[in-house]
């Protein structure tokens, strides 16, 4: 069920009405029911996968948590009976026992993710290797279900398991409450990847109807629909036309395609997250923000702190830090410092950890080499950027442009250009073609390509470009206003007629200029496929 479908809107209306009609103590149970109904309507078979993840994670976390609790209680009582070394050994034994449960659950769930998403990718690679050794008759591909949003809910569940294992909080006692945390429908298919400690604060609470909260939620939903339907789905046609015909659309078109895709992806993904957060907000539930004006970032590192934030922090907290702090890395650090010197040696474990993080980030996005190379591309850019730090410091000591509007603008444009170039890997069918098209920007661009007829030949008209352009200006304006505080908060302080004109205008603009219904193919949110 697409967020932009009539069915979803009807579903939402029914859920919303029922949610506030029910007694407060029944609200979370109803949300669980609604979430499972939502997933069932997407495809009934998906339920098996999410149930397996839910049940295994719940019981594993509960077992770990209970063991931890009983051990801590026992240890507190008996620790004086043991010597320091014995105490250490007891703790290690307990930790090892918990780790067994933890690893079993982790491997099972990551295994499900790996099998469903990466089996055919693995087969394709094995077949490729076999073919290069003169064995063209490779393995057949398998027809597997890939449950919608499996990457999101698996990561969310595993984050919870890791936190419980690390003793950050006690495991949830109620299976159904935990099931709601995993399956909460607004964020089920495209995130954000919420943390239990954050989401649980409002997810299970009783919520009374509050007009301000509800209206803020509705405004956020409307803004999400505007981004998705008016901007993303309208420019999507041109993006698809450029990607589908690389022989025709090379050179400057490839550059235009990369820019269009940057806009489409931003409007699509942030629009989807706006709808998610808005839907949750109408029910009084707070979902973590996933974007903070990422295209205003000064560099790629900052960009990744502001784009798909919950994914970035997940990889940082659950992969980068554990790997960096692992015994292997400690040993590596020691060795590399000894061999390469302190300055260079200390970077080896950091860079290796980063490499692993970006490799997994890439493959998390999709089972293809395009995404892996995209992830590693990000790694390379960030590493180069770090290595160039001394040069930047030297440059700014000589040229005093830092802090000026011009320099800031240059930085923002540079970030957008780099990220858009890397994202070309999302678009084209394979890595060599992506490099070829990127290269064509520099070798095949010509002024002759810049004709209006060429751009209106991509399936969208001059009117469509005008709508996208105006939509983009509105996006930029809202982002600029948002730098000094909540835009909705600011609108709320305006006089009633002004507020009405703003929201009614946005509603009518979405209704009229949205790319939906007959004549437009219903487009899935890009991040639904991850």
């Amino acid at each position: 069920m697409l967020f932009t479908s009539y069915e979803f809107l009807l579903f939402l209306l029914v859920v919303f009405i029922m949610y506030y009609l029910l007694p407060g103590r029944a609200q979370w149970s109803f949300l669980l029911l609604a979430s499972y109904a939502f997933y069932f309507m997407c495809d009934p078979r998906y339920l098996i996968f999410i149930m397996v993840t839910t049940v295994t994670t719940f019981f594993a976390a509960k077992k770990i948590s209970d063991k931890k609790e009983s051990f801590d209680a026992w240890f507190k009582e008996h620790k004086k009976e043991y010597e320091k070394e014995e105490r250490k050994a007891l703790k290690a034994k307990e930790h090892a026992a918990e780790k067994k449960i933890f690893l079993a659950c982790l491997l099972l769930n990551l295994g499900i993710l790996a099998v469903t998403k990466y089996t055919n990718f693995t087969i394709a690679n094995i077949n490729g290797i076999m073919a290069s050794f003169g064995r063209p008759d490779g393995f057949s591909f398998v027809d597997l279900i890939i449950p919608m949003g499996i990457s999101f809910y698996t990561f969310q569940s595993m984050g919870y398991l890791i936190d419980v294992f690390n003793g950050k909080f006690k495991a949830q006692d109620n299976l159904f409450k935990f099931a709601l945390f995993v399956s909460f429908f607004p964020q089920l298919v495209q995130g954000p990847i919420s943390r239990y400690a954050d989401l649980s604060q409002t997810l299970y609470e009783e919520h009374k109807f509050d007009w301000r909260t509800v209206s803020f939620g509705l405004e956020r939903i409307l803004w999400g629909f505007f981004k998705k339907l008016v901007i993303a789905d309208r420019i999507l046609v041109a993006v698809q036309a450029i990607i589908a015909d690389p022989d025709t659309y090379n050179g400057f078109y490839a550059f235009a395609g990369a820019m269009f895709y940057a806009l489409e992806l931003y409007a699509d993904f942030t629009g989807g997250i706006d709808i998610t957060i808005g839907v949750a907000e109408t029910m009084g539930i707070k979902v973590t923000e996933n974007f903070i004006r990422p295209y205003f970032s000064k560099n790629i590192k900052e960009y990744w702190n502001r784009w798909h934030i919950t994914m970035g922090t997940w990889f940082t907290d659950y992969i980068f830090y554990p790997i960096s702090a692992s015994q292997f890395m400690m040993k590596l650090s020691k060795k590399s410092r000894a061999r390469l010197g302190n300055n260079l040696g200390k970077r080896v474990p950091v860079y290796l950890s980063s490499f692993i993080v970006w490799f997994t980030t890439g493959i998390w996005h999709g089972a293809s080499w395009n995404f892996i190379v995209w992830g590693l591309g990000n790694f390379v850019v960030i590493m180069i950027s770090q290595e160039l730090e001394p040069f930047y410091r030297w440059f700014h000591s000589k040229v005093h442009v830092d802090g000026t509007f011009g320099w800031r603008l240059f930085q923002v444009i540079r970030t957008v250009l780099i990220m858009s170039s890397l994202r070309m890997f999302d678009c084209y069918r394979d890595v060599p073609l992506t490099f070829k098209m990127f290269g064509s920007i520099f070798t095949d661009s010509s002024l002759a390509q810049l004709t209006p007829a060429a751009f209106t030949g991509m399936g969208i008209t001059g009117f469509d470009y005008a709508v996208v352009f105006v939509g983009m200006l509105i996006l930029i304006t809202v982002s600029l206003i948002g730098r000094s505080g909540s835009v909705r908060g600011k609108i709320a302080t305006c006089a009633e007629p002004v507020r009405f004109i703003i929201w009614y205008g946005l509603f009518m603009a979405t209704l009229i200029f949205g790319a939906y219904g007959i004549g437009y193919s219903a487009s899935q949110f890009i991040y639904n496929q991850f």
Binding site: Y504, M508, L511, I512, A515, G517, I518, Y520
Partner: protein
């Protein structure tokens, strides 16, 4: 109180805005494809028709109610629309019977060849013009293709929003009213394009009409019987879409089984004097005015003499009404003939 007034005001402005935007964006069908406006026109006319024709272009382009009135005093109307499917005809018949209870309904059987929903654009041209009723809801539900949604019929702005870039002066001119485009449902063409090389129908794998088509034909038959309305099945005399003998036999059998009259006008072409070099405007697909008046004369004789449809000339109210239709009819003949002379087509300079 102030809060209450502001809520009412907000609701009123919102709904008014949506209403006018919908009206603006809806297709008007005042030029070019006129067929989309024909179903809606019906509601403006007096409602005591003796004969109502229900069906596709084989009726609304081939029979002239004006001719039937002028020559037989038959007060009739064609509730026709492009590619009208049998379930749409059924629901139009249901609505018509509820609204005015005619003595006779004439149904063109070509649509029996369709067993499933076909085309969204044609659905719209038939259904959009209907007033909201149980019949309209039934027609929507029976007609929707896979891509369609009921809510888009309920709120047409959801369907027509993308017309914002196609708006023209007609959309503003006809924001709240429409001109008449037909003559009691008849779509007139005076030009000629002779029928040459009429192909035989290609063999079909299965000539049996579908279950769904028969289901609605049965419903139509029952509806008419239950309401004491005479149902007449006809097949217009146009050359194609090809009407197979196997199809014809099924209709003959059906009429016999259900005690209905079925007239295949294809078999009476010579009798009515149809000349395919002169009586069609599109090579045999539809009749032009000359052809339509020949068919109307032939059928008018049957309706009047055999079926005893009353001559209502002399009814002052009807005379007055038909006078206005006749005046428009004659004016349209003049307009099309003038355009033919000047521009070589009936539409005139600005249209193709």
């Amino acid at each position: 109180m102030k809060k209450f007034i502001s809520i009412i005001l907000i609701l009123a402005i919102t709904l008014t805005g949506i209403f006018f935007t919908t009206k603006l964006l809806e297709p008007k069908y005042m030029t070019g494809i006129l067929e989309g406006a024909m179903i809606g026109e019906y509601y403006d006319d007096p409602t005591d028709h003796d004969v109502v024709f229900i069906g596709d272009c084989e009726l609304y382009e081939n029979i002239s109610p004006v001719y039937l009135w002028e020559n037989y005093g038959i007060n009739s109307y064609i509730r026709g629309s492009a590619q009208q499917l049998i379930w749409q005809s059924y629901y139009l018949a249901e609505e018509t019977i509820k609204r005015e209870h005619p003595d006779m309904i004439v149904f063109n059987v070509l649509s029996m060849k369709y067993n499933e929903p076909q085309n969204e654009a044609y659905n719209r041209m038939t259904i959009d013009g209907m007033k909201w009723s149980k019949s309209k809801v039934g027609s929507i539900n029976a007609s929707m293709t896979e891509d369609e949604h009921f809510i888009e019929y309920l709120f047409p702005i959801l369907r027509y929003h993308s017309r914002w870039s196609d708006l023209n002066s007609d959309d503003f001119k006809y924001l709240l009213h429409r001109d008449k485009v037909s003559f009691n449902g008849y779509y007139m063409r005076v030009d000629v394009k002779e029928a040459t090389d009429v192909p035989e129908g290609r063999p079909l794998a299965d000539y049996q009409f579908g279950d769904n088509a028969y289901y609605y034909l049965d419903k139509l038959t029952k509806l008419c019987k239950d309401n004491d309305v005479k149902l007449v099945l006809v097949k217009a005399p146009t050359l194609y879409p090809y009407w197979y003998e196997e199809w014809d036999k099924q209709m003959v059998d059906y009429a016999k089984e259900n005690n209905l009259t079925y007239i295949n006008f294809l078999e009476a072409q010579d009798e009515m004097g149809l000349d395919w070099t002169k009586d069609t405007y599109d090579g045999g697909l539809h009749l032009n005015l000359a052809g339509a008046e020949k068919l109307s004369k032939y059928f008018g004789d049957i309706l009047s003499k055999d079926m005893k449809v009353p001559d209502r000339r002399g009814d002052a109210a009807l005379e007055k009404y038909w006078k206005t239709v006749e005046a428009r009819y004659e004016a349209e003949i003049d307009r099309q003939n003038t355009n033919l002379e000047r521009y070589g087509n009936v539409h005139g300079e600005d249209e193709d």
